[in-house]
């Protein structure tokens, strides 16, 4: 049992798996995103309330969805870092935090642009947008803390504590922001929650969510590999790997 666990945590093992996995992830991501987004942009029917501006949903929702799940993934990795001190978990958190930040920014940006034709204003203190903004701060804090600590292991563990504290807070933040929102301005109509969405709308949405997930998988693998190279630079297997690639 522990043997398997350790093997799973071994950077060398991961490096090999990731190299084999990445072409498939990339191909899948591009294909799904292409189908989902073209379908959503050109073929899905117009929304009877919001018109064509709703087509932003096909990127807004995947970004928002992924932004949140990346944070959850980071928190899971943080547990592994703190409990088992697995190197790969440290690498994961460090590698994906900037990706999460960019995705959160995308969710915010698309939300704001979507808000203009829908609400007539760029920014509205809507519960979802506000929660996203706070998520952006949480990502920013984690990245800033990681940059501020020189020692890699200490940085990984400090960030792990922070991310865990953050993930405990996320439901509280979400709940309190929603409560605050109803207190100040009862929502007229929400951006995404539709009573029932026809299949021509949700199928492309699902495809683009899956596509972005695979894209995230590819990015995570690539960035983790880079981080592993930085950390394991002097090991024999890295040497063999880089010298073999030159020859081949």
């Amino acid at each position: 049992m522990w043997q398997i666990f350790h093997k799973l945590g071994s950077p060398k093992w991961f490096f090999g798996i990731a190299t084999r996995l990445m072409p498939w992830l990339l191909a899948g991501a591009l294909a799904l995103l292409a189908v989902g987004l073209v379908w959503g942009l050109a073929f899905a029917p117009k929304d009877y309330l919001q018109g064509n501006s709703y087509r932003i949903i096909f990127i807004h929702v995947p970004s928002a969805f992924l932004a949140q799940s990346v944070y959850i993934m980071m928190a899971s990795a943080a547990v592994v870092t703190l409990v088992w001190r697995m190197k790969l978990a440290d690498v994961f958190v460090k590698a994906v935090a900037p990706v999460g930040l960019v995705l959160t920014f995308l969710a915010l940006f698309t939300g704001a642009v979507w808000g203009k034709p829908t609400w007539g204003t760029w920014w509205i203190w809507d519960a979802r947008l506000t929660s996203m903004l706070i998520l952006l701060f949480l990502y920013g804090g984690a990245i800033a803390l990681d940059r501020a600590i020189n020692d890699e292991k200490s940085a990984a563990r400090a960030v792990a504590v922070l991310v865990l504290v953050g993930v405990v807070n996320i439901p509280i933040i979400k709940y309190s922001v929603e409560w605050w929102n109803t207190l100040h301005q009862p929502a007229t109509f929400k951006l995404t929650e539709k009573p029932s969405m026809p299949a021509e709308m949700w199928v492309p949405l699902l495809l683009s969510v899956l596509g972005l997930y695979l894209m995230f998988g590819w990015l995570a693998c690539l960035r983790m590999q880079t981080e592993i190279l930085v950390r394991e630079q002097r090991t024999r297997w890295v040497k063999e790997h880089v010298l073999a690639r030159r020859a081949g």
Partner: protein, 78 residues
């Protein structure tokens, strides 16, 4: 196709600028992340290779690093 013509597709009944801005920024950022991550990966591979080639070279004695002599280097005055 939900649109009658390509022009209608671009215009999106007036919502075109919003939709296309979003998609534009989305593709730009995702592509930027991909390219940037890829280039950093290649740069790191290269630097690893250099480290190990240098180590190999000195190990075999083929390309000895210059010994420290602390001789002054001539700088031309032109």
């Amino acid at each position: 196709m939900a649109f009658d013509s390509f022009t209608a597709f671009i215009a999106m009944e007036g919502h075109g600028p919003y939709v296309w801005t979003c998609y534009g920024v989305f593709f730009l950022l995702v592509a930027a992340m991909m390219v940037w991550s890829w280039r950093r990966h290649q740069a790191e591979l290269k630097s690893c290779r250099r480290v190990h080639e240098a180590a190999d070279g000195s190990g075999r004695g083929s390309a000895q690093p210059t010994p420290a002599t602390f001789t002054r280097v001539k700088v031309s005055q032109d």
